[in-house]
């Protein structure tokens, strides 16, 4: 796999998965990312944690990550080993948070993904390929500033590099 590509197995969930489902509020008051990972998605699917292999891809429907601004939600996914999230749409704070911590989040429709399908994500090209079905769909293009942040590895790295925001 070349740089900028992610290959992984899909875990598929539904619409409107809120941040309380991703990481319940009772676990969020911590700086220990491992403890966040232990509880990721536990109220939605208690088996997710054990089924997840590092590098797997989370696939969801519309409005993924709605609710709280807690950055612990994408941090829990990342710490658990999720390599990227593909959803039909995202709630805006989750989307910003994911990119800011360097967790790729792709908005793509019609990829027709079933649990266990192997996917290849091309981050620069913005495509989602389902190796099982051979189907390739184009993801919504990230605004240039978000692409820069993601390419830097997150907002911390971006600001370390540039010192300030740059808009094309």
């Amino acid at each position: 796999m070349s740089a900028g590509h992610i290959r992984g197995r899909a875990h598929v969930y539904g619409d409107h998965i809120d941040t309380d489902a991703i990481i319940p509020g009772k676990y969020t008051k911590t700086l220990d990312l491992t403890s966040l990972a232990e509880h990721v998605l536990e109220d939605l699917d208690p088996r997710f944690r054990d089924a997840l292999q590092p590098g797997d891809i989370l696939v969801a429907g519309v409005n993924f990550g709605c609710g709280s601004s807690r950055e612990q939600a994408p941090l829990a996914l990342k710490a658990a080993g999720v390599a990227a999230v593909v959803a039909r749409s995202f709630a805006r704070i989750f989307f910003r948070n994911a990119i800011n911590i360097g967790l790729p989040a792709l908005e793509a429709e019609g990829a027709d993904i079933s649990p266990g399908d192997e996917l290849v994500l091309d981050l620069a090209g913005g495509t989602v390929e389902n190796l099982k079905s051979g189907r390739v769909v184009t993801a919504t293009r990230l605004p240039p500033v978000m692409l820069d942040i993601l390419q830097a590895g997150g907002l911390v790295e971006y600001l370390k590099r540039y010192g300030d925001y740059r808009l094309m």
Binding site: D20, A21, G25, L31, V62, N63, R92, N97, P143, L159
Partner: protein, 416 residues
């Protein structure tokens, strides 16, 4: 081109005239974080190479989400916030002073026309005073602490016009739940919401905060209540959208036709009239939070429970939104009425709304809450069910032991 309020406010902070869809870097008036989000933001600030915050007097940290600390882990996170605030000279609100959004408005830290970035999703509450409050996560907030700026996409705006007037006993919460029934939980994603109309112009500042607070439950980036009729405790130039601004969509409702509403588990937009569920058993009743923990909310509850006692099968919890709210409620007798009726007061703060402490429901229990979210597990137990309602409906239900319509309590007379 005429501008919506978010276009106007972002233009003023970006140094150029912008319209919906533009990407901008904007100057920020104030940055705010709570004990859920500040520790990660402080860590990210350090990792960015930050040593001094951009302007200490405009950086606000609030210990409210799990306050006073329920365990040593959280106590140490609070200590980290105190240490950072002392070192940097930031504004710090201690445990027990109140909920971040209440304090920001109550202490005049947010003013009409401001752009405030808050590491809490309910930062949209500031639209009640005509400020643009945008919720972000910890790393975005750290970037504001470092640079005093953020990047934004200028949002499209949905206009909500509510005509007429709310009937006595029908609350601002019922109005906003009724709107949520129209938009759904994602209907305003990436959008701004502007609330207009005669029914809205009659609302107090406290009620406007209730309305603006729940814009995020429709996915909105921010939400404003049009300043017509707004009374602020200080003099300020109101922030007004242009009269012929361009709106993506308009939702029109009749205020007189709105009755008490209820959100069913497990999503705030599963809204039905209270009458549809009268009789559903209730175990825990909660009045508080940034959406409904203000003096008027406590007074509405007191009016219903005065001289009576909550049902023996119900625990009624009250969490004042701030110490000032609590003091005012002590001084005007509201606290005595509620306590005599069997209510338990918890410290000013977010209380059980975030599932950490102060009244976590048990397995199989049903909660009627005046809060803003009822996602599964929200209050700390995924095996509990949460209904959202107005403080009046929560109080009426606490007396009855089941979901009850406050208009049937005899406490509210229809006005001619």
């Amino acid at each position: 081109m005429s501008q919506t309020l978010s276009e106007k406010i972002i233009s003023a902070h970006a140094g150029r005239r912008v319209s919906a869809g533009d990407l901008v870097v904007a100057r920020v008036d104030c940055a705010m974080a709570s004990d859920t989000t500040a520790p990660l933001a402080i860590r990210a600030f350090g990792a960015m190479g930050g040593s001094r915050v951009w302007e200490p007097g405009r950086c606000v940290l609030v210990i409210d989400h799990a306050a006073p600390a329920p365990n040593e882990r959280i106590a140490n996170l609070h200590a980290m916030m105190r240490e950072f605030a002392a070192r940097e000279g930031c504004v710090l609100f201690e445990s027990g002073e109140g909920i971040c959004h209440q304090l920001m408005v109550e202490r005049g830290l947010v003013r009409p026309g401001d752009l405030v970035i808050g590491a809490d999703s309910h930062t949209c509450t500031y639209g009640a005073v005509g400020a643009m409050g945008v919720g972000v996560g910890s790393t975005d907030l750290a970037a504001v602490l470092l640079t005093g700026k953020t990047w934004l996409r200028v949002p499209q705006t949905i206009k909500i016009e509510v005509a007429g007037r709310l009937r006595p006993g029908v609350c601002a919460k019922d109005l906003v739940l009724r709107v949520l029934k129209e938009t759904g939980i994602a209907g305003a994603t990436y959008r701004s919401m502007e609330f207009y109309g005669a029914a809205v112009a009659r609302l107090s500042l406290s009620e406007r905060m209730t309305v603006a607070n729940m814009a995020i439950e429709a996915g909105a980036k921010t939400g404003f209540v049009h300043p017509a009729g707004l009374e602020l405790p200080y003099s300020a130039t109101p922030a007004l959208p242009d009269p012929d601004a361009g709106y993506e969509q308009t939702i029109r409702l009749d205020g007189d036709a709105i009755g008490p509403m209820l959100s069913l588990p497990h999503s705030p937009d599963r809204v039905v009239p209270v009458d549809d569920r009268v009789g559903d058993k209730v175990d825990l009743a909660f009045i508080g939070t940034c959406v409904n923990g203000r003096l008027e909310d406590l007074q509405a509850a007191a009016r219903i429970v005065e001289g009576r006692h909550v049902h023996p099968g119900v625990r009624l919890l009250i969490g004042p939104a701030s110490r000032q709210v609590f003091l005012e409620a002590v001084n005007d007798g509201t606290v005595a009425i509620l306590a005599a009726a069997g209510a338990t007061f918890i410290p000013p703060g977010c209380g059980p709304c975030v599932g950490t402490h102060n009244g976590v429901p048990g397995d199989g229990e049903t909660v009627v809450s005046a809060g803003n979210r009822n996602f599964k597990g929200r209050m700390g137990n995924p095996r509990a069910r949460i209904y959202l309602a107005s403080p009046a409906t929560v109080a009426a239900s606490a007396l009855a032991g089941h979901i009850a319509n406050p208009l049937q309590t005899g406490c509210f007379e229809e006005q001619p």
